[in-house]
Amino acid sequence: MMLSRVAERLYWMARYLERVEDTARLIDAYSHVILDLPKGAEPGWSVLLETLEAQQEFHASYKATTETNVMKFLISNSETKKSLRSSMRFARENVRTTRDVLPSQVWELVNECYLLSEDQSTNSISRKNRAVYLTELIGRLQQINGLIESSVLRDQPLWYMRLGRMIERADMTTRIVNAGVTAMQQRAADQIPEIPLLWGSLLRSVSGVSAYRRRVGPVLDAESVINFVLSSPNFPRSLVYCTGSLEEIVDLLKAPPGLSRAARQTASKMRRLDISEIDVIELNQFIDDFQYELGELNAGFYDAWFSYRMDKTTS
């Protein structure tokens, strides 16, 4: 049985690591698609802030929503919480305080990745350096996940990490889908023809380009892409997949019945979703509800494991 405090830190370590990887991929994909769009047609950098719900925090430190400012805010600013650099620092702090339950190489890799972000992020704002840096960062994070999956005991610490990873991933995927749906709505209202490139970018930001091609085909359209990212049962970043994993992990961790039920309901609701039957407004509402449920699950984890209560007994 592990310490509640340690379980909580492992959970957050995994959340932050996943957040860094997903945010880096989002920035990279967006920076990439911008290059392909005709000048004047690009949606602007505020889209990234909206996706990450960071407008308010951004405007507390910066005035103009320029590319440079947004990149500084999201990549290198060490004082705001939303930057890759801060998330990496939080991830490292959590590993530093849980080193005793992890193989030592996990700490070494996370520490190296943190040093990379401390040393390189300020130099990686320009378009030229940004792509190289983000690719390197994403690669390192994948390496960390690979190491964790191939060396950590199949036991509680691993499950708490997976729990954090999956809930964070579900959250990020939802945000990205939401950004796509919003763009779709705006374009419909303004009667702008759809740009397939944007849907390619959306897939790219969830690392789903080749999976989509194999499963659906090379043609990109709004409904197929959104459907794939929401509902593909075997794409490891889809919401059906993420919520299904959460359901499994919660059972492995022998969650109390209430929490177990909540996880099961979230997963089956996601499986039942059929976007061909609902309109965009309903989809928006569905996503909002889903975000709320993720928050409830997170609170349920605290109740079940992380906030210690005397009345529980060891099994």
């Binding site: 592990m2 305080t97 080193r99 992890l102 030592s104 070494e108 520490n111 040093l115 007994t313 060891t314």
Partner: protein
């Protein structure tokens, strides 16, 4: 020999020009030639060019940064995580010389433990006036709450870190015994790790005693204290938290032992005096606590009620025999520079043996005769507060001005019990890589002695080295470095 200047050229000159009365160099003899045990390493390092040596030095720094080997210093109101300072050139000690130290250190640890057990129980040594009773009973490290307890195997100080120095002829002396929460052992292990990664060729044809066994030995020592007989007792490492200077070590030892690293708030004591940790599945009973927090912070109920680091009721649980604590509360009574002076007497008194390792001659300012001598010869002596660690409050007479001498004379007169003095030893030196060249630097050695059901001593220990020329202050908190320490042959 090649035509280009050897990396050792500078060192040979230094060795030949220093007067024979000066420090003993551990690797190089007075003729500038390597001592027998160091010959192969000397030759191997001699093959490096200055650039190559610099490259290895940088590689070591990078390796330490990436492995995250750090220590925390508190400065300007901030906690800064610093990379561990490591010197490339190993310190080499002959196995034959070390064997004697090994027995001497075990002997010392046995006597110290017999002493602690005695002063908290029958107090025979005080009744027999081997040392003045008030010296022990009035010491701030004597904890009345610990009287009448006899922990498992009669052992209180399960982990002891004794600081050793060598004099001008290379003879070892014990400078002090750290019995509270001695630290440094993880750095001893990591230094070896770094050496193997950065200087693998030095290990060719060498038989160096391994230091990696420490965590397993520590585990066995702690397990032998468990009040419940279980195959795998529940052992925890109690840390004050991430801001403690030795947090790295706490995490390291917990990880290496497969024990849980806990903070005070992770534990609680119930009304039947049993200690539990708070796990995701509820309370789990704890058998042995390896505590890395000071006595008086351990339990706000028994000691400082303002401590937020400890666990309320811990002392009750320990007194009731429900949990073992290493080192036991109150062990610090023998970790006092005045009590230190009596260790040779303790060895004779409790073990009926002659000490195998010597003490440094020590003047006790509480004794009138000694005090007069110290006040008169203050410029030649090293004066130390009886109850400080980390090198704080030490005055090195020959390195201080007369104003400092006068200040210490006043301090001693005001509170003689609190000061001791020792002759200024010419601490031994070893070749150290400093600013692109190899130069002699003073060092000490901290071996770790484990005492549970069995005793065990680390082969070698943590070598600390003063990086400033001529300096005798080796503490890492004050700019000291460290070396990998080899017992060979």
């Amino acid at each position: 020999m090649s035509v280009t200047k050897s990396i050792w050229a500078n060192y040979e000159t230094v060795a030949q020009t220093t007067p024979p009365s000066a420090s003993y160099d551990e690797l190089i003899n007075e003729n500038g030639r390597p001592r027998a045990a160091a010959r192969r390493v000397y030759r191997q390092i001699g093959k490096f060019s200055a650039d190559e040596l610099q490259e290895r030095h940088s590689a070591a720094e990078l390796c330490i940064r990436e492995m995250g080997i750090s220590f925390t210093v508190y400065s300007d109101g901030e906690n800064i995580d610093r990379s561990w300072p490591y010197d490339l050139i190993p310190r080499i000690i002959r196995a034959k010389d070390w064997k004697k130290m090994n027995s001497g250190l075990i002997q010392r640890s046995r006597a110290l433990n017999a002493f602690i057990d005695d002063v908290y129980n029958k107090q025979k040594i005080l009744a027999d006036e081997v040392l003045p009773a008030e010296l022990v009973l009035e010491s701030p490290n004597y904890l009345a709450q610990c009287t009448g307890i006899s922990p498992a195997h009669g052992v209180w100080a399960h982990v002891c870190g004794s600081d050793l120095v060598r004099d001008g002829r290379g003879k070892f002396f014990v400078l002090e015994d750290n019995l509270r929460v001695p630290s440094g052992v993880s750095y001893m292990i990591e230094n070896r790790e770094v050496s193997k990664r950065v200087l693998p060729e030095l290990f060719l044809n060498e038989v160096v005693q391994s230091v990696g066994d420490y965590p397993a030995q520590l585990y066995a020592t702690l397990a032998s204290l468990s009040p419940r007989s279980r195959k795998r007792p529940c052992i925890v490492v109690l840390t004050p938290g991430i801001y403690n200077s030795a947090y790295f070590e706490h995490a390291f030892l917990a990880q290496e032992m497969g024990a849980e690293l806990v903070e005070g708030s992770d534990l609680f004591v119930d009304d039947r005096d049993t200690v539990y940790m708070k796990t995701v599945g509820g309370p789990k009973q704890v058998d042995v606590i390896y505590r890395r927090i000071d006595d008086t912070f351990m339990d706000p109920e028994a000691f400082r009620d303002d401590s937020t680091l400890g666990v309320s009721g811990l002392l009750r649980a320990w007194r009731g025999g429900k949990v073992a604590i290493a080192n036991a509360p109150g062990s610090g009574v023998a970790d006092d520079k005045v009590v230190y002076a009596f260790v040779p007497e303790m060895i004779r008194y409790y073990l009926n043996e002659e000490p195998l390792v010597s003490n440094v001659p020590t003047y006790l300012c509480m004794l009138e005769k000694d005090r007069d001598y110290v006040l008169e010869h203050i410029a030649e002596l090293v004066v130390k507060p009886a109850n400080e660690s980390g090198g704080y409050g030490i005055m090195v007479g020959p390195h201080s001005d007369s104003a400092t001498h006068r200040r210490y004379q006043k301090l001693i007169e005001a509170n003689p019990r609190n000061y001791i003095a020792q002759p200024t030893l010419s601490l031994s030196t070893a070749p150290t890589y400093c600013d692109g060249e190899i130069a002699p630097r003073h060092l000490d050695l901290r071996p770790f002695i484990l005492q549970g059901k069995e005793s065990w001593v680390t082969p070698g220990g943590l070598t600390r080295v003063a990086l400033k020329e001529g300096s005798l202050i080796v503490n890492s908190s004050q700019g000291g470095g460290s070396k990998d320490t080899w017992i060979v042959g």
